[in-house]
Amino acid sequence: MSDWPPPEDWGAVDELFQAALDRPRQEREAFLKEVGAERPELRAELEALLQAVEDADPWIGRSEATIHRLAREAFSVDPDAPSSTDGDSAARTRGSEGA
């Protein structure tokens, strides 16, 4: 995640981002102008986020495909792979203690 916006400003960015999304497309430019008049640095951020909304879909689709691919791999029964009694996860150890 980028360093901009700084964490203390992030809530404000998120609110304005949603407010921009709630407006019809033709009204967004006017909204951005309004924001930019007070805080020009936020306007650039909001523009980038609105563009990212448009661009994110195919990227998310590829990420989903990656997850499916890894799931296939992680759960494939490979005779050479360590059995389910291996100790590869700290979570397992905590689980047996807690159970």
Binding site: M1, L49, L50, L70, E73, A74, A91, A99
Partner: protein, 199 residues
Amino acid sequence: MGASRDDASREGTGPVTELLAAHARGESNALDRLVPLVYDDLREIARRHMSRERPGHTLNTTAVVHEAYLRLVDQTRAEWTDRTHFFAVASRVMRHILIDHARKRGRQKRGGDAVLVALDRVTPGREDPATELLALDEALTSLSERHERMGQVVECRLFGGMRMKEIAGALDTSLSTVERDWRRARAYLYRALAPGAHR
């Protein structure tokens, strides 16, 4: 995984059922405590499902999670909403399992050297899937630090394969809130990770 394993699982429904109820009441650490209790069973069930499928088949996460729910949660004590909440828990467990797998794979590939790669600017489909997943996990963790619910929506959607309506039920919020979170979350993750998305 014979009879003794099944017996152990039946004895083990108590803690999962109780923690699930605590999670539904909004107790903050219940989710983290549930993850290790569900981890092994979910992995085992997923492996069995995959072994029955054709090569290249996509894991039916919903079926796996439903089976895990029936095995791990005492049906006589569970509320009907617990099933939905369990899906959110299972989504987190799936995330842990896949991250553990990606890390292990990375270690094997690098001959045991734990070399850290730059995790930003990772292109899905072009990089090693394990590297891609670790980058996504890192960005998702950052997002959750800023907005917990938004992070959970992404987790349920990407790792649990849950539908928007199911996520709304699991997170006790409205469908429109989930849809709005998901829309913004995608933009944040894209901006954090995708090459060409300037920051």
